[in-house]
Amino acid sequence: MSMHIEQKLPSYRSESKAMGLEPMAINLGPSHPAMHGTIRIKAHLEGETIVFADVEMGYLHRGFEKTAEAKTWNQVVPYTDRLNYVSPIINNVGYALAVEKLIGIQVPERGQYVRLIMSEISRITDHLTCIGASAMELGAFTAFLYFIKAREYFWQLVEEVTGARLTISYTRVGGITRDLTPDFRERFAFCAAELEKSMAEVDGLLSRNRIFLDRMDGVGVMDRERSLSYGFTGPLLRAAGVAYDVRKAFPYLVYDRLDFEVPTGSKGDNLDRYHVRMEEMRQSLAMIRQALQQIPEGPINVADPRVMLPDKQAVYTNIEALMNHFKLIMPGHGIRPPAGEVYFPVEGGNGELGFWVISDGSDRPYRVRVRPPCFPLMAGVEEMILGEQVADLIPIFGAINMIAGELDR
């Protein structure tokens, strides 16, 4: 047990030890409605206070990294959907950018804008899920319904563009599967209006709500120093007052052309996390609006026959395109990035999502390592919940927005 954890528990342990009391062990999970996915927290209580906790993960481990080594570069894309399944597009984009960096190609401007717009929609659905679900766990079921309704509109928009709601596999190495639909602007304007309406409603319901404030304010505090030491990124680090955002610090796609703010908190408690996420959704909306104004016409995919399949019409009518098609599809041929490695970070819903891809020059990845944003957050849970009441475990855990898919891979 680290020194910091010992400091957080001043007297409980010694007092109860003197009285000869044993802490009561309580198991939350692996299957528990508030444990969003499968994770187990073994908490030891003295009264209502958590004095010892052990976080056990790995229940959703499906060997993503091992499987990726046996698939071709493009076949890995559907597996990345299943990493963070509330913002799958960001995973797709992160993986595609890493492989493109390895090959040394860049998607045309319109493709980059489309990727950015879809990523930001994903971020909005991510935050809607997080805030909605944690509000529901505190009893605010109405807020949950409002946000899930707004999320539904965005998922319909995603479905319209990509053909699926969650398992979308939207990117390919060198591009995306489909361009935005012709009526995207109007549909987005409708979704944005609905979102702003429900955000105003939820803001009115929660932000000054006595019960909500009592449960969130000053709960689950992780200060700046400890957040940094744990390697926190994303909304949790920003809530602790560090304005680190991969989109600002290491801009990828066309984020450097957009005007946006990185909201920060000061205390690093649950309430700051809630406010940071709410503000990020507003920023994402603003970003999509700017991107829709700037987006140029033109191709969405790279015109590089080494990575992109030729047009189907051409495959059926001329021999070069047919050969090109088979060269990309046959086992042992396909996309072959040069031997080397790349670490590419993007800003996921929960923080820095990094892909470390290693190529040995063949048509299959040699190694794909994911830096899941939740992983360091979950490592910090133990320290966050110690000394808190057992009922506070739920909002703390909800504010982390743990996604077992990317945590356990």
Binding site: G63, K66, S229, A339, E341, Y343, R369, R371
Partner: protein
């Protein structure tokens, strides 16, 4: 690249010269000897690199290019407020791979090192509780090693026998004929 100047200072503070750098696309990594792993991280921390963003491992045993050791561990650090990044990489040999734990420097190292141990069997002396994290207790081997077969199964409970549908169908047919 600004990292090179930093890496030269780091190498000279360790009393080493001519440490190779590897490009990771977005950042370049300084390859340090396994014995200097902790000292290099400590130096970075003293220079203001207060975050350990990522720590991951890889097994290069089947890689066509030569590497100075079978396994490599790469750690990414970041300094505030300018968000400068640095990356250290250390190669460890196939026999008893080990690197000194960074848990004393960064709280983040705890789980990352547990994962590297679980997946690759790299030992981290000085880690307070090096146990499996993704796999379960009692699991044999380290699954992300290149010599661990992809299809190997280690079920915790015995698998059920597959139903022989053809036999079921035939039995149903016989029963149907008898009835008619």
């Amino acid at each position: 690249m600004s990292e090179s100047a930093l890496y030269q200072k780091l190498a000279s503070s360790l009393g080493l010269e001519g440490l190779p750098e590897e490009s990771l696309g977005t950042v370049s990594a300084l390859v340090v000897p396994a014995a200097s792993w902790h000292a290099a991280a400590l130096w970075l921390k003293q220079q203001g690199f207060s975050m350990l963003i990522e720590l991951g491992a890889a097994d290069y045993s089947k890689h066509p290019l030569p590497h100075p050791g079978r396994y490599a561990v790469a750690a990414h650090f970041m300094a505030l407020p300018g968000f400068e990044r640095a990356c250290l990489k250390a190669y460890v040999p196939a026999e008893s791979p080990a690197l000194q734990s960074l848990c004393g420097l960064y709280a983040a190292a705890n789980w990352y090192e547990r994962e590297a141990w679980d997946m690759f069997g790299i030992d981290f002396p000085g880690h307070p509780e090096l146990k499996r994290i993704l796999m379960y207790e009692g699991f044999e081997g380290h699954p992300l090693r290149k010599d661990y077969p992809l299809g190997r199964m280690q079920p915790l409970i015995p698998m059920r026998e597959a139903v022989d549908y053809e036999a079921v169908r035939q039995a149903a047919r016989r029963a149907g004929q008898g009835g008619a």
